[in-house]
Point group: C3
Chain length 274, copies 3
């Protein structure tokens, strides 16, 4: 296990050293937080969503993060164009299926993206990823819905990972990451993270940042999710009692101060091959 | 009067308990603040504005907040579609007529919404609501314009409430709320609230949150506006001297800590039936 | 030199006194920060980008700031319509050429704006302005690229200022402002400003605020850039060690507290006519 955590800290150093450009086609609710989270972890964000420029922009970038939080006809086209170009150039593509299951438009868009673009990492909450697994989900907006208790997040993560040949991250009280074979569980995080909008979106942006400096997208997903969880814990310790506004800002503070020492001390990552 | 304030605190508890989903079709300037204000008060935000999904999204929501701050052709259609569907399902619709009177597009859009959608609450500043009353207004952008001194906010609120059979909230130094018969005046708030963008938009988002748990939209409007006013006072006490950036964050902090005790201690609500 | 700095403080007082309306057609990443920066310095922001209203909105405004950060087909039309109307009414137009050189769409849009609209101030980083000078630039997204070392920022600023008969501001470690004849260098600022998204966008919004109260756009650009630099220094002193989230908020705090005394004490402006 120490090997995985140590490897994670190497990725952290590499992002800070290389400052890779991360192209985001994302929603207008949390876009500012995503840009600042990417900067805080040491990478460089670019947000561009017009069909006339996304292929060029992605081609100068080191990762593409597609987030369907406030999708519309105009940007769906851009997501697919950028994704295809990223595939041609072997640039990793991360998909955050915000609100999967909540509307036919979201469901069809996700299917369209998955059928036309090779996605390297899918990261969402349990109800979103359960929808991708083909399970019946009673979605309540963009937050986690109750999934049939009999289903297990590990089973769902592996199922979706194998279905789409990608890495899957499921955020929750315990985060699950799987590439279809390996499974990591992360026990970091704080429940207050769900009281601030954009913590899921920022997590996907962080995963994109780490994917840009390695071919091991499983590890990049582990560190991306762990980094947000640890930042949530630190933010809660520093400002949780003050309120969710200060907690929100403190998450970015913690990300900007994240280093190997902090990560090694705090990371609660458990890996099983089963 | 104690009855009204006590009833308000019941709504506060109910929002925190039920965490209702609030659908917002809003502007991209203050959307993040609106989402975080809704979360801070205990509800759950969803922002969706594509015509292909708004009817579905509103149908799983408990209130719809329409804010025309950065309206455009694409979202106007969505606003009306979502509003009509909300009407069919008896889901309350709140309209924030940002910048009413500032352009023909805004004026026509407001009239179009009001003619096609049954609005339950209109909340704006004096110049915006005066425009809806048919008064001549010299609007200066999206902020309050000087309205003819002879007009009285109470008269205007009642006039518009009766004209559109809805509850009207007029925010200002003293906030006025009327359902056409009852009139409440709120003396909470702080002038620094006008130095941060989005405090009006957040107020409408809060009203939507409270409307989702009651049929008494008058009371929901009273508590929505009072909650923002009280949060502004607390934020000023804690961070006013530091600057408007910290004050902005502190408003969300205060909303997230708002409870019955705080509300009962601070609320300055005066009701008259006249 | 004291004359220039003293004149700057007069502009600061005038903005706070008159609270001019500043029309922004900008990107959705940093729009909230731009609005709050404009409010913090004492002016009043309006964000409107639909082609059907931008001519009306700009006609009630005192300056127009065009920022191409997340440009798209819909807003490009609006930028040009608003710009032309501003020209007719002698309202100053500020252009922030975000990411110039990064895509054909951005490059063509900038050329189209510059050919159809008389721009009064262009403000960007060295790679963006170098692109406008016709120099070969290896752009890396929206951040500063390495420009051929032989080129000098002063030469480039003057070249672009003369080419487009406007004032040019180049932000960097030392900021350069030129109207083609006069050249000012500002040594304020802090490197942490590049770790928060939107500090460039906010700078352009501040320049717009100052241009709205004077015909001397050179001086307005000097004070706009200097104000952001000084605010960055103050923010670093107060919160730099805490993290980039707090630093971000502290920039707005510093802008909201900016006054003549602070400006006179801190401004490091050097002017040469060469």
């Amino acid at each position: 296990m120490n090997n995985l955590i140590n490897a994670c800290t190497d990725l952290l150093c590499e992002v800070r050293e290389k400052s890779p450009l991360i192209h985001n086609i994302t929603n207008y609710v949390t876009v500012n937080d995503c840009a600042n989270a990417i900067l805080a972890i040491g990478a460089s964000p670019i947000m561009a969503d017009d069909a006339k420029e996304v292929e060029e922009i992605v081609s100068i970038s080191s990762a593409l993060v597609i987030n369907i939080g406030t999708l519309n006809q105009r940007t769906i086209t851009s997501m697919i164009m950028a994704g295809k170009r990223a595939n041609e150039l072997n640039i990793p593509v991360i998909l955050d299926p915000v609100g999967a299951g909540a509307s036919i438009l979201r469901n069809k868009t996700i299917q369209e993206i998955l059928s036309q673009v090779k996605i390297n990492v899918i990261c969402g909450n349990l109800s979103e990823v359960s929808f991708l697994a083909g399970l019946k989900v009673s979605t309540k907006g963009v937050d986690t819905a109750k999934v049939d208790e009999k289903n297990d997040a590990v089973v769902i993560a592996k199922l979706v990972a194998n279905k789409y040949s990608c890495v899957v991250g499921i955020t929750g009280k315990v985060d699950i990451i799987s590439d279809g074979i390996r499974v990591a569980k992360i026990a970091n995080g704080h429940k207050l993270l769900s009281r601030v909008t954009g913590t899921g979106c920022m997590t996907s942006a962080l995963i994109g940042s780490f994917c840009s400096v390695t071919n091991d997208y499983y590890m990049a997903t582990v560190i991306g999710i762990a980094t947000m969880g640890i930042s949530g814990e630190i933010a809660f310790e520093k400002t949780g009692i003050i309120g969710t506004g200060s907690f929100h800002i403190s998450i970015i503070d913690a990300l900007s101060n994240m280093n190997s020492t902090c990560f090694l001390e705090r990371a609660k990552i458990d890996e099983t091959k089963n």
